[in-house]
Amino acid sequence: MKNSAGRLNVLILGIDTAASVCSLALYDGVRVLSECSADGGLTHSEKMMPQLQALLDSCAVLPCQLAGIAVSLGPGSFTGLRIGLSSAKTMAYALKIPIAGIATPLSLAWNLPLPGVWLSPLIDGQKGNVYQTVYEWRAGRMFEVEKTTLKSCGEALSFLAQSGRECVALGEYPGEPPGGWPKGVHPAPPYVRKPRAAVAAFLGYARIAAQDWDDPFTLEPYYMKKSEAEILWEKRRTNIVTCEE
């Protein structure tokens, strides 16, 4: 089977359930055959697989025709990530096809590959915090300027404001900042703000074509932080040790 450019078909399914949007796409290395992003309404658990069925049907593609799966790994909503990854793992296993995990911030930056600006995905990290990453697109490549870090919304915005660069904020940041957006920091328009599975599929295609894929048996979401129970337990243990000392 050949794709639209006459090359060997490598049909990649992209899955992004890291944020409130449930996004699925089919990419063949040249064209995005179909993409569906549904934000709000039903839960990821209820809508993802029926949405996948409809996506494949709309392109007359059968599951057995898929050549690989690209899945967004976060950081993001723990539950959303687990739903997308759990289905992705078993589909890759049953279809005997490779799986490639994609960092959600990188995927978001590729929503808007523009030269000359800082691209800063901000992903909701709960309790008024965001996961901030900063990228710069130069000469057709995406460079990471600042690695993904959990910080308060205020810190994330002042980091951008103090850079002296024109910055575009992407991702699911928690609403308009209290004092408005700082000078030089611009929110991306809604249609490129949220993660898109077509981007995950595009990035996954490159990895799978280069035979750089992940092991579905051990692949995990990027949680970036321990569970609250573990944090509390460690804090308590540190306190006990300190008291004993």
Binding site: S45, M49, R82, G84, L85, S86, A88, T90, Y93, W233
Partner: protein, 341 residues
Amino acid sequence: MKIIKDVIILALETSCDETAAAVVSNGRGVLSSVISSQIPIHRRFGGVVPEIASRRHVGQILPVIDQAVREAGVDLSRIDAVAATYGPGLAGALLVGIAAAKGLAFALGRPLIGVNHLEGHIYANFIEHPELEPPFVALVVSGGHTALLSVPEYNCFELLGSTWDDAAGEAFDKIARALSLPYPGGPEIEKLAVSGNPAAIVFPRAMKDEQFNFSFSGLKSAAVNYLHNARQTGAAVNKADVAASFQAAVIDMLSERAAAGIKACGARKIVLAGGVSANGKLREVMAATAKDLGASLYYPSPALCTDNAAMIGCRAYYLLRDGFINDLAINACPALSFVKT
């Protein structure tokens, strides 16, 4: 010539702290049953931490599925249906198993069957006892549920009664914690009770007027208060006596209601199910109760009492047989109870 093919179901169970997968043939033939337990991981927290359980399920689900398929010696293409527990349980934990099952069902082009975990526990008995068939009365006793049911036929469950407050297993765990016993508390109480006197302390048997319903919170408070008072007055506590007396009170309530259920339904069979049905003393008392009423007692072996996927595969077989299948939109139902199908 009619060729009858075996119906092979791949089943998943992730409702709490076990990641499990099984391959079951014709409902009762367990070709493989793999369980990856998280008990050691949660022990230091004194109970199951939902977020940690969900994370562990994502890491374990595919290795467990693969091991179950390999041990069964069947090719994935031979699987006729995929089943998963959809409730009750921890939402985040259930979602991992359901999402994994959906991926398998979709990729293989096979039907998906959502299974009620509690019905699965009852069906564990069909695996253990090939001769067992409905009708019977079932007593489901676990960490999350205590219920008495009449099961007149395979896909019919009539709830006779359930607990107003705590589940029996939950009460076991709470008293174990009050006695500084490690998690999970049920087996620890049972062990300690062996050397204790069940008549040493008279704990209340609540709701004597209720025919089929249960209540364990009063008993739980009484046991906690007993320990608290002893601590305040500096009185010595015989932990084994507390464990034995508490266990006896729980078992009294369970067996009394079960007896009422057997009588009311005119049942000839009583079936125990759920994690607490692994309790040796409960089995002993229930055996005597059943004998008095001329009924036969059935219970699964300890391995099938705790959470496993073989029982989910067994339950799914009878659902599939009668055409009960789900679409890919099925969601987790953390508070699922018994529903009439």
